[in-house]
């Protein structure tokens, strides 16, 4: 079969609930529920989900996730935050970059459950109301994109690049930003936008 990019654990909590000895299960849950769990998808589903709490774009959210769900898919499919993009699901393209506790992270490479209690910022959380973030403004002014698909990841990386003090020269920006692919080839304009945002004197 095709070698899938995103493996799910073979032995899940579902296997545990559905197939492990009743002895273990009974000690955790009423027998009737265990029995139901053997037959009913919905109940099995409930038991295998992990409750998480995290701060996403300044708001506390509680979410139940299946095992093996990436932070990227949790944001997109469960919270409806589709600004963060799936480009490869392998950590190669950077389209899924978000900030976790202020650090840039490929959200496709980290499981949602490993981010419990953390502070996540996505592209949707960058602007303050109608006021765009200076890097977003600079991207528009310098036409730092064409199709716009890699743009959320580019912008999240760009903000981190400036905040981390890595935007001191065009060569430094290019090197730092090389984890973010832009297939439309807006690279020179992205470098110009980051340079302009950094030099604007605004708080990044």
């Amino acid at each position: 079969m095709e070698q899938h990019d995103h493996t799910c654990p073979g032995k899940s909590r579902r296997d545990f609930i559905k197939k492990s000895t009743a002895l273990t299960a009974i000690s955790l849950t009423p027998a009737a529920v265990v029995k139901a769990g053997e037959h009913h998808e919905a109940i099995a589903s409930f038991f295998e989900k992990t409750p998480l709490q995290m701060e996403v774009n300044g708001k506390m959210v509680q979410v139940l996730v299946d095992p093996g769900v990436s932070l990227l898919d949790m944001l997109r499919e469960q919270l409806g935050l589709t600004g963060t993009k799936k480009g490869c699901d392998q950590g190669h393209c950077g389209a899924c970059i978000v900030h976790v506790d202020g650090k840039r992270v490929n959200s496709c490479l980290t499981e949602a459950v490993d981010n419990n209690g953390k502070k996540i910022t996505t592209i949707e959380g960058l602007a303050e109301g109608d006021k765009l973030h200076p890097v977003q403004e600079a991207f528009i002014k310098h036409d730092a994109f064409q199709c716009g698909y890699c743009t959320p990841g580019q912008i999240m990386s760009a903000v981190a690049c400036i905040r981390e003090g890595q935007a001191n020269s065009e060569a430094d920006i290019r090197e730092y930003m090389s984890d973010n692919i832009c297939r439309c080839g807006a690279y020179p304009n992205i470098v110009a936008a980051i340079t302009a945002a950094k030099n604007s004197g605004q708080k990044i």
């Binding site: 079969m1 899938h4 409806g80 600004g83 393209c93 064409q146 199709c147 716009g148 698909y149 080839g185």
Partner: protein, 741 residues
Amino acid sequence: MDKEKRASYFADEDDRVDGIDKVTGRAKYTADHHPENMAYAVFVTSTITRGSVKNFILSEARDAPGVLEIITHLNCPAVPGFQPWAKDPNKKGFEWRGLKPFANNLVWYYGQPIALVVASTWEKAVKAASLVKAEYITEEAETDFEKFRKDPSRLKPSGEYKRGETDAYKQADVFVENEYHLPIETHNPIELHATIAHWEGNDKLTVYDKSQGPKGTQAELARTFGLEEKNVRVITKFLGGAFGSSLRSWPHVAAACIAAKMVKRPVRLQLTRRQMFTMVGYRPMAWQKIAIGASRDGKLTGITHHAISNTSRYEDFREGIVNASQYLYECPNVNTTYKILPLDINTPTWMRGPGEASGAFALECALDELAYKLNMDPVELRIKNYAELHPVSKLPWSSKFLKECYDKGRELVGWSNRSAIPRSKKEDGKLIGYGMGGGVFGASRGNATVKAIFTSEGKLNLYSAVSDMGPGTATAMVSIAADVLQLPAAKISFLLGDTEFPPGPTQGGSTTTSTMGTAVSLVCEMLKTQLIEIARQQSPLFSGLSADDLACSNGKVYAKTDISKNMGFAELVKASGKPQIEILKESGPDPAVRSKYAMNSFSAHFVKVAIDPATGAIELKKVVCTGDGGKIVSPKTARSQMIGGAVGGIGMALTEEALVDTRTGKYLNDTLGSYLVPRHRDVPFIDTWFPDKPDPVINPMGSKGVGEIALVGFAAAVANAVYNATGKRITSLPLKPSMII
């Protein structure tokens, strides 16, 4: 129309109209949609290269959690468009192009979809797909292009051209002859191809699809599933790049529709990055042999160009690989042949610049080689053979400002610093070289319809079912409308990407601005005429004045003789007594013009490279792209498009090569970590320049398009610069340090 003022009127307003949506994450691409109760589909793909599926073992996959359906050829319902219509000579039906998913058990290539798992979540579908087992009957597969291209019996002739004498180069004072090799190059837009299919009953289908032509996809799906076109709606609001990969519907589009029908739920099928190599086309492998002869003073006397590119076993794909050799330069004797070689791999398709880009690599490198042999400047050689008439049709060009491109390109790259002797110039210990390459592509205009609604608030909404893969169609259309109506761009919206709108063109072949822009320009002219007429009829201000006495500026109609007599567009709409003004305008090509002129866009790319003599590492020091695309409608986005083409050219020249294992037929580097596309660190500042001269006949804007010429000829410029720097003539792409040291 005042062409001089075009696009300059709102020059400060040329930010993309969809810029805010794109920088805030609000822009919705196909997979961002999430209809209620949506299920997720994942392909199971073949692990053999040629043969058939003998048996599926599905029990384990069926028992996996969340599985709703597993579709194979054994349970796939009959799809009307999958029936070969040729069987019924009386009924000229429609037949789905290419691979028909689950129509039979045949395997044509490694990684072909053979089953589809539909489940309640994507993770569950992935898991279950990994549990599907297939048993195969395996046949010997053939995927070795280099081996089989040498066997004439396997080649399908795909066009011959001749003027004057065959192989005239052999009698020339001076000639060059060389073979050129191109690998598979994949589009790999960062947006994964995806389709969401949603049936409402048996006869109504809504599809979100990554399509460069929603109307084309609508027609294909309607005919494939035996539906009325009006009952199929295709939505492509935003398209995350495509470069040709979305010019047609691939098997996953039909598969998503089949799945949604079977599970009676909306289904999303998004390809994985690996599947982006095996399911949505690529630029084919190509072998070319080109020979060019010239007199001692540099006049070309003969060009011979042979090309072979690969196709799949199940579908023929051809492109214009030898075309530019026939007409880019004046030459009395030209002969070309083109053949395709079927192999057991997936079908290729047009990739930006398509065949012309492959062909230009050979042609432009060969001219460079010839220039050295003649001891002539490569630019002067091109100017010496500049074609004033189209050498094939003998028609005059509608416009051609390629000489201006040569001159400006030379100036911007610092061509005067170039040494005519290879490997003779050094800077900071590195070998320095300058090179150039020319490009050409057809300029044309197709059919488009636009609906204009002018509201009583003074806003103009334009609607058409075109989509935009990135160059900025809506931005260009707003610019055109603003210019014709002299209305601020902020008051204009261009709504696209939905087949509920009037038919728009497929975005490809550098034709969108020309085609769509013509319809927009014409509808705005009609609107202007109507507004002026309303002003004359309804307002005493303009009594006694003719239409010629009135003009538009800044959203108002005014009297030319007395600008204090004016009336805003919004007021005029109200005065008309109608809630809004609505006009539908269709436009198409003008055959009369077509028969009188040859129409092309042209480019000239210049690069300066620095090469480390110890490691062979190639660094691009300067890149200059000049392009005659006629009048530039939207300068900011056109510049970006040109830069983007150059970056595509950098990939073609230096990084991109998809490798197929000739034993197994499997792609060896099917990830973005191993198939190398240019990244930030590979791309320097890129200078662009356009003559920006309107073409007098092609369309009302005078715009010819720059999408393809941005890339055509670029790779040759790099290879030629590498020769200038090192004295090594490299004829295989991508260029690698190992070929230099």
